[in-house]
């Protein structure tokens, strides 16, 4: 990497200056091109199949894993780190079973490359309960409202629901239905899920 950095830096600076000088008119913001002085382009591994060393922060713990560039965050969580709470449903971003929190927002682990999740905070269903086992209010509400049958979609539903409340999108049944539409439930436990989200939203105080 250091060889590559030394090699790329001068060119990078030339390019940056060129862009400032020739291309920017008054209305175009230049911060992205001009503001950062260091060239920190990562060197590409010569062999695309080479394993990458990746540090993933999950539920507050740092995990060092070796992954193929192709591996998704979902597969890294399940196969490398051993957190099988996030589920693989469609694996194409259509069902929501793999929903996790990334930097506090709900995202889909199946459409995220593990290598691209470095430096971000990931929370899975395993990270919700308190160390003494006390459940998160959303988990409590799903139990209280019987908001699942087979349970496969439930981890994704719960993480999505927590985000839904934090976003301020859990103020009415209609709004919950709209803002939980990215999580499919083949058992069709939807009425109970809506009830659970509304119950927890009261207790979460958002």
């Amino acid at each position: 990497m250091s060889d590559s950095e030394r090699k790329t830096e001068p060119v990078s600076k030339r390019r940056r200056n060129f862009l400032i000088g020739s291309a920017m008119t008054g209305v175009v913001p230049v911060i992205g091109w001009a503001g950062q002085a260091q060239a920190t382009t990562q060197a590409a591994p010569v062999d695309a199949r080479a394993a990458l060393n990746v540090a993933l922060r999950v539920n507050g713990r740092l995990h060092q894993v070796q992954v193929d560039a192709r591996m998704t965050l979902l597969d890294a969580l399940r196969e490398e780190i051993g957190l099988t709470g996030a589920k693989k449903g469609c694996d194409h971003g259509q069902c929501g079973a793999c929903t996790v929190l990334v930097d506090g927002r709900r995202e889909l682990a199946c459409l995220t490359l593990a290598v691209a999740a470095q430096g971000r905070e990931v929370v899975t269903i395993e990270g919700l309960a308190a160390p003494d086992g006390t459940l998160h209010p959303m988990q409590e509400a799903f139990v209280a409202q019987d908001a699942f049958q087979c349970g496969y979609c439930t981890p994704g539903q719960i993480l999505s629901a927590i985000s839904c409340v934090h976003e301020g999108h859990a103020t009415s049944p209609d709004q919950v239905r709209e803002y939980m539409s990215g999580n499919l439930c083949r058992c069709a436990a939807y009425p109970n899920i809506v009830a659970a989200v509304l119950q927890a939203s009261q207790q979460m105080g958002d």
């Binding site: 790329t8 060119v11 990078s12 600076k13 390019r15 940056r16 060129f18 862009l19 020739s22 291309a23 920017m24 209305v27 175009v28 913001p29 911060i31 992205g32 091109w33 001009a34 503001g35 950062q36 260091q38 060239a39 920190t40 382009t41 990562q42 590409a44 591994p45 010569v46 695309a48 199949r49 990458l52 193929d68 560039a69 192709r70 998704t72 694996d91 194409h92 971003g93 929501g96 929903t99 927002r105 709900r106 995202e107 889909l108 199946c110 459409l111 995220t112 490359l113 290598v115 691209a116 999505s160 985000s163 976003e167 999108h169 239905r177 709209e178 939980m180 539409s181 990215g182 999580n183």
Partner: protein, 337 residues
């Protein structure tokens, strides 16, 4: 998924260097939110040898700024951030609605505005490489949809080579509001009308945009005309939420009493590219906006429509969608300040 090299440059200047100096001569594919690219890589539709992740480099182009005359949306802002932005919702409702009615909350948290407008078609034949015939995926191979299941396909702007629909929603709002787009690349930056970004399929449906190699969308620039606050996005879907449009209309109308001073209209789910309905706009201008006029305008915008074997209903549905959108816009209560 095919193996690929992964790079995550820290700045956009480094992106250009990374492209030029990388060992492979194959152009890099840019990764932003990943919601289209990773999906299509899993399907084998896209097989990049080099993926340049723009998450760090693009982070300076994620701002939302409004100075009273111009709304500037950074291309790396996430769909959800823009949809929920109070200024966007109040002064450019068609933008907020086109974003919040698209995809799911998770996808809107991931997808960037720039990636959203560059999303690929949902044509089932394009997305499934076991179908040999797809001119968009494999130039010259034919079009399986012409003689296939084409209920979801386009009725406007198609060619004999490709009848795929452009499914995006946000692009229709940009079309209606006369947005322009700021592009950056190896040769510097340039600004083009958003309407000039997408290319009609013609005989080259695999070439979807006018972007130069290595160019990145940096900003969307949207003028705040008197029509922007009286604007809306009406989206008709097969299910109520989390679904692509079968037909949609982005309308922005400036009224002078009951008379239309100016109308901007774009249609979604119906055309091969983001579609501006100039014919309808011309009919509405200086006319009283009632149901009869709206219907006449809507019919004009489908005069050149070409239905396929399974989607003739889209012409009537598209017309009715536009009529309803126009009448809703006319009845909007708009704050004048």
């Amino acid at each position: 998924m095919r193996p690929f090299q992964y790079l995550q440059p820290a700045t956009l200047a480094d992106v250009i260097v990374a492209q030029r100096e990388a060992p492979s001569a194959v152009p890099a594919t840019f990764l932003a939110g990943g919601t289209t690219l990773i999906d299509l890589m899993k399907l084998g539709v896209m097989q990049p040898e080099r993926v340049v992740d723009l998450r760090l480099a693009g982070s300076d182009f994620a701002q939302i700024r409004f100075d009273g005359a111009t709304l500037r949306l950074g291309a790396f802002a996430r769909m959800a951030e823009v949809a929920d932005h109070p200024v966007v919702a109040a002064s450019f409702p068609v933008i907020a609605q086109s974003l919040s009615l698209a995809a799911s909350p998770q996808l809107r948290n991931m997808a960037t505005l720039g990636g959203n407008v560059l999303q690929r078609t949902r044509c089932a034949y394009f997305r499934d490489p076991t179908w040999a015939a797809c001119n968009k995926r494999t130039p010259g191979s034919g079009c399986a949809a012409v003689d296939g299941a084409n209920r979801q396909h386009a009725v406007l702007g198609t060619s004999s080579q490709c009848i795929a629909t452009y499914h995006g929603d946000f692009a229709q709002a940009l079309m209606a509001l006369d947005a322009s787009v700021v592009l950056g690349g190896p040769a510097g930056t340039r600004t083009i009308p958003f309407a000039a970004l997408h290319r009609l399929p013609g005989n080259t449906p695999h070439v979807e945009t006018t972007l130069h190699p290595g160019e990145i969308i940096l900003d969307f620039v949207i003028p705040a005309g008197p029509w922007a606050s009286r604007s809306l996005y009406l989206k008709i879907r097969d299910r109520q939420s989390y679904e692509y449009a079968v037909a949609s209309a982005a309308v922005a109308v400036a009224m002078n009493g009951d008379v239309v001073a100016d109308a901007r209209i774009a249609l979604g789910g119906l055309a091969a590219v983001p579609w501006r309905a100039h014919e309808a706009e011309a009919i509405l201008r200086d006319a009283v906006l009632d149901e009869a006029t709206a219907t006449r305008a809507a019919e004009a915008s489908f005069a050149a429509a070409v239905p396929q074997s399974h989607n003739a209903f889209k012409i009537a549905l598209g017309r009715d969608t536009l009529v309803r959108a126009l009448l809703q816009a006319a009845s909007m209560e708009v704050r004048h300040d």
